[in-house]
Symmetry: C2
């Protein structure tokens, strides 16, 4: 693991996909003291805005992949192949946070079933990277900075196969104010992605709106 | 809807599958004032014990299906065809609570993907029943009667296509002390089942144990 992913230290974070999700996370992690490079958006203006807002820089996908000790991939599922086509070798050995639920465009379900998952597909595209899946709260919440609910701390599941990579990611999750919960190996994405889909269903079809979260209760 | 499924009234509840799950739920609903009939277990002694413990009665699967205003189906997935083979016509129009996550026997995943779900398979086997999926907390918790966590109330997702059936089931969930959350149509089982699988993963493979629950946070 690069020294930059040690707990508590400042990390360089490359972001592939500077949309709602990547933009918000980059800003929050910037405020936590990390250096951010944004890349890959359909709207170059959005890229610049994200960088200005976060005090970060911009670059190509390859630049961001090279820059980051940790690289967040948060792109629309339809763009995943294009987003990652040139960076498999650059990302070899790096911590990659996969925040890509393979939702159908109409949000009616998932494109991939429980025999595989979006995260596993990402790992296939990046065979030497250390992929950790984290499906973060709705961008609206990340944007508002209000991640707690009346003082209650939402849980944030993550999964992956590399212990050190997961430790680094857990730190990043904690820095958002969320409670990191290790959901096991990367194949757990087969369960985390439908769970993410459930949140989508509740928010957009069941009338709860995007101000929802979940807390793992323990005793 | 039969008058017996009106909110607040005493219901007749038939239980197909008097194992950990069915036994515990039968007892709790009996304590809430409902009449219970247990059926279908590999161990006839367990069937009698469940009935004695709950103050309920026992019968064949057909008896339980006829008896219930509401029928809970909670059997190992491998037994689902056998359990339901003779009751499709009896259950026509009845509220059926499907509590069957199609887990692989080694708990490593789900047997069915997001193109379908256990609940939809149940609905196919019972084409005229009003199926609602509810994947309840671990039987251990139901058994202990301790469903709250330091005063916090777990959420209980459910899904189905029949509004009245869902209303009745929501009442039954509330009577357990859980907060019922409508997760949408029966196809949402494609998301609830992996979510249930996630809880299984956390409990048995990630070291959390079965004393876990989830709460939907809202604002």
């Amino acid at each position: 693991m690069a020294s930059g992913t040690e707990e508590g230290s400042s990390m360089k974070i490359g972001i592939i996909g500077a949309g709602n999700m990547g933009g918000c996370l980059g800003k929050l992690w910037s405020q936590a003291g990390h250096q951010i490079m944004f890349s890959f958006t359909q709207d170059p203006k959005a890229l610049e805005e994200a960088a200005v807002s976060a005090g970060g820089r911009t670059g190509t996908v390859i630049d961001a992949a090279q820059f980051g000790d940790v690289v967040l991939v948060a792109v629309p599922w339809a763009a995943i192949d294009i987003a990652l086509k040139d960076v498999a070798s650059v990302l070899a050995g790096k911590v990659v946070i996969s925040c890509n639920n393979p939702l159908k465009p109409d949000l009616s379900g998932l494109l991939l079933g429980t025999e595989t998952s979006g995260a596993e597909e990402v790992a296939r595209l990046l065979p030497a990277a250390r992929v950790v899946e984290v499906l973060f709260p709705f961008a609206h919440q990340l944007r508002s900075g209000e991640l707690r609910f009346d003082g209650q701390q939402p849980s944030q599941f993550y999964c992956g196969d590399d212990v050190q990579a997961k430790r680094a990611v857990a730190t990043l999750i904690g820095e958002l104010g969320l409670d990191p919960v290790d959901a096991g190996p990367l194949t757990s994405a087969r369960f985390l992605e439908p769970f993410g889909m459930l949140m989508v269903q509740l928010a957009y079809r069941q009338g709860f709106g995007v101000n929802i979260g979940t807390q793992l209760l323990r005793r």
